[in-house]
């Protein structure tokens, strides 16, 4: 099987990284493929690239299917380009749980940027990962970050109520809502809206958009204020999202959205940054640790043990918790290499 390692003209991981950092978009694309496929090339490339990342503003855009995420990403990209910023886009769509195939359709709305060398759009299939992103989306964003893009927009799959993973991958999380999608009780349910730094009611030209926005404002801002010690003590407090209205298809409200993103970036960069960065690092590292554990349990030395334990759980001879303990014990006795 071919790999970027033996791709003539670019060389191995070192050559790919050098070329991508020098602005070679094909090298960047191949690095992203390596990251997506979790090849050895990707791991050595990330060792070099990760220290260079951390300069971009990484913005997560999430919300229900059809709420206008892709159109908003295209529109926001236009506004950011007018402001002279370079933009990387990672657009995630779901993979089929049955065939593993995927239809990646987010570019349809973004093709106006195809001729612009300072916009780089990459579609990713979620490949079975739940949570709204692919397991490698954060690493892909880090590659784009290191490659020098100012603004990185991560568009999740269409989400429901609890796909909050994007908040761990992004500096700023935007949750999109469409008008008339639910009442005030929807707005006070736990989950997706809680991780929003900005809530955007898109399709602002539709009836009910302003009412939806004012309902969201009333319910989301009614939560205890971050500074109110008596109300919340030392417990984690919900965010106080700003609610905006946009019409992504016409661009109305989108410059205001970029301004709000910048304000959020300015605030968090100083104040909340260490805690938020730490939380993001934790989410990313634990995800890789879990992945590595699973890979090792499926590797040759341990596959027989894993299969036996899984079969016991399937037949209700063993409960999942005891099974997990057995597998972790097996890991410690089977040292790699």
């Amino acid at each position: 099987m071919g790999s970027p390692d033996n791709n003539p003209g670019i060389g191995g991981a070192e050559g790919l990284v050098d070329a991508a950092l020098a602005g070679d978009r094909r090298a960047l694309a191949r690095l992203l493929t390596a990251v997506e496929n979790r090849t050895p090339t990707a791991e050595s490339a990330l060792r070099r690239l990760y220290p260079l990342a951390g300069r971009a503003h990484v913005v997560g855009i999430t919300g229900p299917p059809g709420s206008g995420k892709s159109t908003l990403v295209a529109s926001l990209t236009s506004v950011a380009r007018e402001a002279g910023r370079t933009v990387g886009v990672i657009a995630v769509d779901p993979s089929s749980p049955i065939t593993g195939g995927a239809l990646l359709g987010d570019r349809v709305r973004m093709q106006i940027h195809a001729g612009d060398n300072d916009v780089f759009i990459r579609s990713m299939a979620a490949r079975g990962h739940a949570g709204g992103l692919a397991s490698t989306s954060s690493a892909a964003a880090a590659v784009m970050d290191a490659a020098g893009f100012d603004l990185i927009l991560i568009e999740t799959v269409g989400t429901g109520q609890s796909e909050v993973e994007v908040a761990a991958a992004a500096d700023t999380t935007v949750v999109l809502e469409a008008p008339e999608m639910g009442d005030e009780v929807q707005a006070i349910k736990a989950g997706l809206l809680e991780v929003a730094d900005l809530v955007v009611v898109n399709k602002g030209d539709r009836p009910g958009a302003l009412r939806t926005a004012s309902q969201l404002r009333a319910m989301l801002v009614a939560a205890p204020r971050a500074g109110d010690k008596r109300a919340a003590g030392d417990r984690p407090r919900p965010k106080q999202p700003v609610v905006l209205v946009t019409t992504a298809s016409t661009g109305a409200g989108v410059p205001e959205l970029l301004a709000a993103l910048d304000r959020h970036r300015a605030i968090t960069r100083d104040a909340a940054a260490p805690a938020a960065r730490r939380a993001r690092a934790e989410a990313q590292v634990w995800a890789v640790v879990a992945e590595r554990l699973r890979e090792r349990l499926a590797s040759d030395g341990l596959r027989a043990t894993s299969d036996a334990v899984l079969a016991d759980v399937a037949d209700h001879r063993l409960d999942p918790y005891a099974a997990a303990d057995q597998l972790l014990a097996a890991l410690t006795t089977d040292q790699p290499k």
Binding site: T33, N37, G101
Partner: protein
């Protein structure tokens, strides 16, 4: 991972507005286990080449019903070559007269699929001929 899906760009260059075929194929290839990037109608050759580069696809499938294939297809193949993407498998579908097929193949097209081609035939051809790119 070793058996990662092949990535296919389905694009409709030119001005005809009939993308039912392209959508049916995109969906069919999804069901065959491919990761399919669909870019929509009215793509310029430059848009197709940019999408192929950024998405790092293994295959570009072009759907053309307008009769402009002799202009559009060689141009797309040339742009892909100039971008260093000549290892991408290019296939064409739509209404292509038999007489034009040799010239398209000379321009770099691996296969031309006319009306009546089944999705399984396209999928099998792509699996057999696309270069897996890591």
């Amino acid at each position: 991972m070793t058996d990662r899906p092949l990535k296919v760009l389905i694009a409709k260059p030119g001005l005809d507005g009939h993308d039912r075929g392209a959508k049916v194929l995109a969906r069919g290839l999804r069901d065959e286990g491919f990761e399919v990037v669909y870019t929509g109608l009215r793509q310029t050759p430059e848009m197709v080449a940019t999408a192929a580069l950024q998405e790092d696809v293994d295959v570009v499938g072009l759907s053309i019903l307008s009769g402009a294939h002799m202009t559009l297809v060689p141009k797309i193949c040339r742009l892909l070559g100039e971008a260093g993407l000549d290892d991408i498998l290019v296939t064409v579908g739509g209404i292509i007269p038999d007489d034009d097929v040799p010239a398209l193949k000379a321009a770099g097209v691996a296969a031309v699929f006319g009306p009546g081609t089944t999705i399984a035939e396209v999928a099998d051809f792509v699996r057999a001929n696309a270069r897996h790119r890591g």
